[in-house]
Structures are given as C-alpha cells and as structure tokens.
C-alpha cells in the first residue's frame, strides 16, 4: 500500500465537530495523554532497552555501544547515532528500505532534540582523544502506529539513554582496558538534560475559519489524519526549548505558539517524573535480583540444616 488510507468523510466530520464541542472519541480532555506504559527489560544484564506504549502506539528502543575511532574533526567526542526503523509491523503503508516522509521527519526531530541539543554529553564517550571512543548506537523500532509517534519515540529514546550502562574502561599510558560487565560494574551515561517532544495538533474551530484553532495533545492516528496543522515542541523540565518544528501547515497565531509551549512544559515535567519513577523502580528490582545473584555467585551455597547429622 503506497499511503495510509485517509479516514472517510463522515468520520472526519464527526471528529472535527466533536472537537468543536470539546470532546474526543475516547472521552479524554483535549490536553490529556493516553495511558503511558514504560517498561525496561527484566533481564538484569541488559541495560538500555525500553518498550514504550502511549495508548496503542508502541516503540521499542535499544542502545548498544562499541569501541571505535572518533571522527577526525571531532577528536574529543564520541560517536552517537540514532536509527529509526519504520516497518510494515507499525503501519501497512511503511516499507523497509523506502524512505517515507514520516521517517525523515521522525529521525531528524529525534536527532535535533537529543543529539544537536547536547542532551548526551559526547565528550564523556571519549576514551583516548583522536584514537578511541565509544560508538553509541540507538535503534528505534516503531512497532505500532496509532498517532503521536514523536512523543512516544523521544520518550523511549531518552528513557533508554538514562537506563543504559556502558562498560567501564581504564587507560594506562597507551593501553586501554575495556572491562566486561561481569568484571566491573558498568557506568551510566552522562545526560546534561532530558528533553521530551510534545506534539500539539491544531484543528479549525469553525467551518473554513482561521480564527481560534483548537489545540489538542496526543492525537490518535485518525485524529492526526484530520488535523490541519501541528507543532512539535522539544523541551526539558527546566523550560529550555530545544527545538520547535512547524512544517508549514495552517496559519497559527504567534500567541498560540506561546500557549502551546506553556502547555508543553507541564507535560514535559510529567514525562520527567514518569521516567524517574520507572527508573527508580527498575533500580530497586535489579538491586534485589543482583543481591540474590551475588549470593549465588559465591562458593558457599545456602544449606538448610534441619536434621542433625548422625
């Protein structure tokens, strides 16, 4: 299928007229998010994988790292690359290998939000300047598209970066030793700030009128296909806006942009809290499991001596 089929006209009219009366199909408030689920792998040896669901939209992010040479013009920085894979699993109109407009927008916005804004401190990935550095690779797979891909993908990427632990490394003169995860505890990445993307979609409030566009957050796929414009705001919980992207859709008043940014700040704080809570829970879970594992690794087993010998 070359392109996603648009919703039929009666559906479109219904969604638009419902929005004019302040209701959505799933009875959410106009600025409410669908239930968000953020899960980390249960395997205590795996770090840096997240499975995020916002409603039915599902994104899987996996971070891996390798040791390699830095770019010649950036001797003191590590290499960080983000790849997004949009396959037929996510939507029947996506084909692997064919670059869709969605893929370009998604990967560019993720790069600008996380890489260009300096969220990840690439200098901390450097091992020996000009010779060896960590090559960090983030792979995102969109497993299901039900609208609001940007928010979900960024949440997955940032949570995975916060969760990931790279192998510890020590440099003695010319010799670099990269320790295995079992030899030395791996090290967390340094993130200077945690940005999130909040996409605001706009709908016309009256028939053919440009005044008073209705701002809606977290749109489902059907709602997205009916919108007249959208603004993607990347910001962190301190109110620093890293990226704004409005790719030429309906005319938006300057004031509406500022209102949208203010709304986005609340949501960014919400995301931040959510990620922190999940990370803490995961830490606790791993401490328990690791604690038990540590005992298992020792030579002495737990023997329950109930019956006296002899």
């Amino acid at each position: 299928m070359p392109s996603e089929p648009l919703p039929p006209n009666p559906n479109r009219e219904f969604i638009l007229s419902a929005l004019r009366q302040n209701t959505r199909l799933d009875s959410r408030a106009l600025d409410a998010y669908r239930p968000i689920s953020l899960r980390f792998p249960s395997d205590p040896d795996t770090y840096g994988q997240t499975d995020v669901r916002i409603g039915k939209t599902r994104v899987l992010c996996s971070i891996s790292c390798d040791v390699g040479a830095p770019y010649p013009d950036r001797k003191f920085d590590g290499v960080f690359s983000i790849t997004c894979e949009l396959g037929p699993m996510g939507s029947p109109s996506w084909e692997i290998g064919r670059q869709d407009q969605t893929e370009i927008v998604l990967s560019r916005l993720l790069e600008k939000t996380v890489r260009r804004s300096g969220a990840l401190d690439t200098e901390s990935l450097c091992i020996v300047a000009g010779q060896k550095c960590f090559h960090l690779r983030a792979d995102l797979h969109i497993l299901d598209n039900d609208g609001n891909l940007l928010d979900t993908a960024t949440l997955a990427l940032v949570a995975a970066l916060l969760h990931f632990k790279r192998p510890d490394v020590s440099v003695e003169g010319e010799e670099i030793t990269v320790y295995d995860v079992r030899e030395r505890e791996p090290v967390k990445l340094t993130l200077t700030h945690t940005p999130f993307i909040i996409t605001t979609s706009f709908y016309p409030s009256q028939h053919r009128s440009d005044h008073d566009l209705i701002a809606v957050l977290d749109t489902t796929l059907e709602e997205e296909q009916c919108r007249s414009g959208s603004l993607a705001i990347s910001l962190n919980r301190h109110g620093e806006v890293c990226n704004l992207a409005k790719y030429g859709s309906c005319g938006l008043e300057g004031l509406s942009v500022l209102t949208a940014v203010n709304m986005a700040l609340d949501k960014a704080k919400m995301f931040d809290r959510l990620v922190k809570e999940r990370l803490d829970e995961d830490e606790k879970m791993r401490a328990e499991v690791f604690g038990r594992k540590g005992v298992d690794l020792s030579a002495e087993n737990e023997r329950v001596m109930e019956r006296p010998v002899g």
Binding site: Q99, I104, E240, V241, Y247, G251, G254, L258, L265
Partner: protein, 253 residues
C-alpha cells in the same frame, strides 16, 4: 573566528554595523530564466538563492497511484560546493536538506491553490550559490517570487526571516535582546529560529528552531520575527509590482 558578543552591549551595533532590528540588504529579481515557467533570484545579505519553478505539469510517474485531487509540490535543493566558507560537496540525500525540502513543500502545499490542478506536479528547484545565514528563510522567499512569476495562484506570499536571542540561557533577562536576520557567524553561535508568515501579519506558517533557548525568550524572538516578516513581505510585494510595471510598460509603449 568565534563571535565576540561583548561588543554588542557596548556599541549596540552588530559585526556588520546593523542594529538589533535591522534586516540585511535584500535584493530580488523575478523572471531571471526565461526557459522555466517561473524563476527568481533572491539575495538576503550574502545568502544568494536561484529558484526555478516548472509546473503545473503532468506527474512524472505512476498514473493511477496518486488519487488526490490536488497538485503535489516537489522541492529539490542543491547547495553548491562553493557556497560556504569551506568547499564541501553536499550529497543530495543529506537528511538535513531533505527536511528543508519537506518544510518548503508542505509550506507551499498549503498556500498554493493546489485544488485547481489535480493530478499534477509543481516542481521547484532551488540552487544555493552562497550561504551566510537564513538559508531556509531565503529559500522560502525565493520560492514565493518564482511561484508568482510562474503564475500559480496562491492565497498569500510566504515571507520568512530569522530571529535570534542575544544571551545564552544563563544570562539575565534584561541583556537578552532579540536580533533580527542573523548572518552566518551569528547563527553558529547564538540560538535562532526561522519564522515564515502567510495570510496576515500574525499568522505563522513555518516555524523552525533547532537551538536551545529559554522559554521566556521565545515571546520576544517570535514577535520580532513577525515584524521582520512584515517588512520582508512588503519588500517582496515591491519586487513583484516593479516587475509587473516593467512588463506592462514594455507591452504598452
């Protein structure tokens, strides 16, 4: 050479002698290539863009694939290797250029009357001869002029410019002046955004910001940007009208 922004507060003048709310020298010409349906040459300071438009024309491939009853706007940008300070050969499928192409095409998809030309393509070709900041803004302005030369009806000009903020996010509020129309050096150092308006002074059609800035600075930046776009729109209008007058005079006399 890194930007020395300490001189800004002392003299209230920028490196090129402009004040915070002055545009660079803007020069535009319409109908520069007779072979294309529409063409223009646009200069914003040292940023020089040549734009040609071909269309509306038949779709190049896939007769029955596209079922929309609107014209499609396709944009291709070619950045010359000699356009920047260092000679760099830009590959055509660079993601950054693709994103710029998408921005321009979706901006015009909404302002052009595409419903008048179903099943056709409007092909816009941009060539960047020299870049010194405000690349996206200059491209949008050049496209507007070329599309008008091609005679494609649209609801309004798209006028775009860039604005930046003087201070980094650590500085105090009163030192953070917004700047209008940044040149290349300023763009590398300061946070900036590109804003394009269409259909009214306050209607933002395109808004792209790729650098980090405090929320509080946004209001000033956007309002200065909207004002700059108003000035650019009247300049574009002047160019179009001057050309029209010349054409009429040559026909009448």
């Amino acid at each position: 050479m890194p930007l020395d922004s300490s001189i800004y507060t002392l003299s209230a003048l920028r490196l090129d002698g402009r004040r915070w709310n002055e545009l660079r020298r803007i020069n535009g010409q319409i109908s520069t290539q007779q072979a294309a349906d529409g063409s223009s040459y646009f200069e914003m300071g040292n940023t020089k863009i040549v734009c040609t438009v071909n269309g509306p024309q038949e779709q190049k491939r896939g007769g029955g694939r596209d079922q929309s009853n609107e014209a499609k706007v396709e944009v291709e940008i070619g950045i010359a290797g000699f356009s920047g300070v260092d000679r760099k050969r830009r590959m055509r499928n660079d993601k950054r250029i693709q994103e710029m192409q998408y921005t321009i095409s979706s901006a015009f998809q909404n302002t052009l009357f595409t419903h008048l030309y179903p099943h056709s393509t409007i092909a816009i070709n941009l060539h960047v001869l020299s870049q010194d900041g405000s690349l996206l803004a200059a491209c949008l302005n050049a496209c507007t002029l070329a599309l008008i030369d091609a005679g494609i009806p649209m609801s309004d000009y798209i006028a775009a410019c860039t604005t930046g903020s003087m201070a980094s996010y650590a500085d105090k509020e009163d030192e953070a002046d917004p700047l209008l129309d940044l040149n290349g050096l300023e763009e590398q150092e300061l946070p900036f955004l590109t804003v394009g308006t269409s259909g009214g002074e306050d209607k933002v059609s395109v808004l792209i910001m790729e650098t980090r800035v405090q929320m509080a600075r946004l209001e000033a930046m956007i309002s200065v940007g909207l004002d700059g776009c108003k000035q650019i729109r009247s300049i574009l209008d002047g160019i179009v009208r001057a050309h029209g007058k010349k054409v009429l005079e040559s026909k009448v006399s």
